[in-house]
């Protein structure tokens, strides 16, 4: 979205999301970050995330970021949406593996 080095960290925000399936929780979480980029022009390079529950699943995130400043912030691709194109979320021997395609 932007080069984080050109963004001042001035905003803190808490996000809470609940979804019936773990893959939808991931979809909703990333969709939330895209939504906040458009609604408030906020970008969050720093996030502490915890996930709980066994269905429904709950995500709690503490975000730190900043406001896009057209004079200072180096802009990159503008994400439109999270797609289900080749969408994969699976548990592996080492943890979790996700594959996502973002429409830009």
């Amino acid at each position: 979205m932007v080069d984080p080095a050109t963004l001042s960290i001035t905003v803190e925000r808490a996000v809470n999301i609940e979804a019936p399936q773990l893959d939808l929780l991931l979809y909703d979480w990333l969709s939330e970050l895209i939504y906040l980029k458009d609604r408030d022009r906020h970008i969050f390079p720093v996030a502490q995330v915890s996930i709980a529950g066994e269905g429904p699943f709950r995500l709690e995130a503490a975000l730190q970021g900043g406001v896009i400043d057209p004079e200072r912030t180096a802009l990159g691709a503008d994400p439109k949406a999270v797609t289900f194109h080749q969408f994969v979320l699976e548990q592996t021997a080492d943890g979790w593996r996700a594959r996502l395609v973002i429409d830009i």
């Binding site: 057209p70 439109k80 949406a81 194109h85 830009i104």
Partner: protein, 489 residues
């Protein structure tokens, strides 16, 4: 999803520049898949196109065939360049057949100015347009809307803008559906979509969206009679082309309903080969809600292009010291290339109501179509096809044959030959901007890397796409337009 070359090999020639994959070639196909392409364009299509167009052919209620236009490339759900019509009574509607950028579309504006008059001001003009039409991540428009007035935009489309002083009454008749599609229902639009889009009216966006100053060159007018009727008069004449859509508002509606349909499909016993093709029966509560919300986004996109047109007129007027009417800044046409619309078409001798999905495909109605302005009625609906920022664009008209063959649809662009990431590896944005300036094309961009993604070599040859459309009589070539200035998100 598989992207193996097997399905490509199963496409059989079915006439000049027509290829068909029979329903027997993949489990679940209800109709054939038909691809319109020359041998060269067919060879350039990604394997994913063949997988995706045959997945579309499996959807409930699809009528006659799943189609792919000559600019087809790998998309999400449908291929880009995909067209499919579903029976409105027992067929489906799918956000994956429309795209997140609902009513992404093209608008072409003529001017009475020549290149000789514009060229001395081109850097100043592009700079002023870049300031007047915000672009890139986080851009905010100049129109201040309340939630109530935004809901009126959703229902009235470009008409709302003209009522509020952003345009001329005659602009409206030169738009698909007069810039306002019926069926918009703001009650099915989420509060998130409203809050995401309410400040973005009048913004260009990013990616492949642009505002371009173009000129018709010597030899660029292919059909002088149709060209004159559309306001393309002589070589050297300058035009303004817009490519943008419904911005975050449409993106959020796409996001909301993709998720709703993903969860609703089991209730309707629908299974799809690709989760991005999530769909619901058109007549179901979910299908009707999406249609109402999607149409609201489509109307907001017409309004977005209308408000940008107003800014373009203001800037030209300021720089050339004459009012926009004297400068001849008239809309030639505005046409969508990401929509689903309720249309009546003839199927096996009887008229049917169909939900026609066009995903990276342009409506191309032939002469006599009822919503055409009288000046265009005998020549057909203008079709605006955007090429790459380096190589130019094309103006065509729809045909009677397209009404029979493709539900009155045609291509929308040149089609990519490589991913954005690949293009960025091959050229730097600032290098490309310098090279283009040396060739007489002035570029301003919100994102330099975004310019590299849109380099001419990342796209197919537009003339090859237009040749196929013309040969197949899916639309008729009128003029070729070449860029002299470009603003990119």
């Amino acid at each position: 999803m598989r992207t193996s070359p097997e399905l490509r090999a199963k496409a059989r020639p079915a006439g000049d520049c027509v290829w068909e994959i029979a329903p027997s070639e993949k489990a679940g196909m209800r109709v054939p898949a038909r691809i319109y392409a020359s041998e060269a364009l067919f060879g350039q299509m990604d394997d994913g196109v063949f997988e995706q167009v045959t997945n579309v052919a499996c959807l409930p209620g699809i009528v006659r065939a799943a189609l792919c236009m000559p600019d087809g490339h790998w998309g999400y759900g449908f291929p880009i360049g995909g067209v499919a019509a579903f029976d409105a009574e027992d067929g489906v509607i799918s956000p994956g057949g429309i795209g997140f950028d609902i009513n992404c579309g093209m608008r072409l504006i003529r001017t009475g100015l020549s290149e000789g008059e514009v060229r001395p001001h081109i850097t100043e003009l592009i700079g002023a347009l870049f300031e007047a039409v915000p672009s890139g991540v986080g851009a905010k428009g100049f129109v201040r809307l309340t939630e109530e007035s935004f809901r009126r935009v959703m229902v009235q489309g470009a008409g709302w803008c003209v009522t509020h002083g952003y345009g001329w009454p005659e602009d409206l008749e030169r738009m698909e559906g007069q810039g306002c599609l019926p069926g918009a229902d703001p009650t099915h639009v989420s509060a998130r979509a409203v809050s995401r889009g309410i400040e973005q009216l009048g913004t260009l966006g990013s990616g492949n969206h642009y505002l371009e100053i173009q000129v018709v060159r010597e030899g660029g007018i292919h059909d002088p009679v149709a060209a004159r009727a559309l306001g393309v008069e002589a070589p050297g004449q300058v035009f303004v082309m817009l490519h943008c859509g419904s911005r975050g508002f449409g993106h959020q509606i796409g996001t909301d309903y993709l998720r709703i349909f993903d969860q609703a499909m089991p209730r309707y016993g629908i299974r799809v080969n690709d989760r991005e093709l999530a769909c619901a029966p058109f007549r179901s509560p979910e299908g009707q809600a999406y249609f109402g919300a999607m149409t609201a986004a489509a109307n907001s996109a017409f309004a977005n292009r209308q408000v940008i047109t107003h800014r373009v007129r203001e800037v030209f007027s300021r720089i050339f010291g004459r009012d926009a009417r004297t400068l001849g800044l008239e809309v030639i046409y505005d046409v969508c290339h990401n929509t689903a619309k309720l249309e009546r078409h003839r199927v096996d001798g009887r008229e049917m109501e169909l939900v026609v999905h066009r995903k990276g495909a342009t409506r191309a109605f032939g002469p006599g179509a009822p919503d055409l302005p009288s000046a265009y009625r005998t020549i057909g609906q203008p079709v605006i096809i955007g090429g790459s920022m380096e190589t130019g664009s094309a103006l065509l008209v729809g045909t009677a044959h397209a009404m029979e063959e493709t539900w009155g649809s045609t291509a929308h662009g040149a089609g990519r030959t490589m991913s954005r990431a690949q293009a960025k590896k091959l050229v730097r944005g600032d290098t490309l901007i310098r090279d283009m300036a040396a060739r007489g094309i002035v570029v301003r961009a919100a994102s330099k890397s975004g310019v590299a993604e849109e380099a001419g070599f990342a796209y197919k040859d537009l003339s090859a796409v237009v040749d196929v459309l013309h040969r197949l009589d899916l639309s008729r070539r009128v003029a070729t337009l070449s860029p002299i200035g470009n603003i990119k998100g």
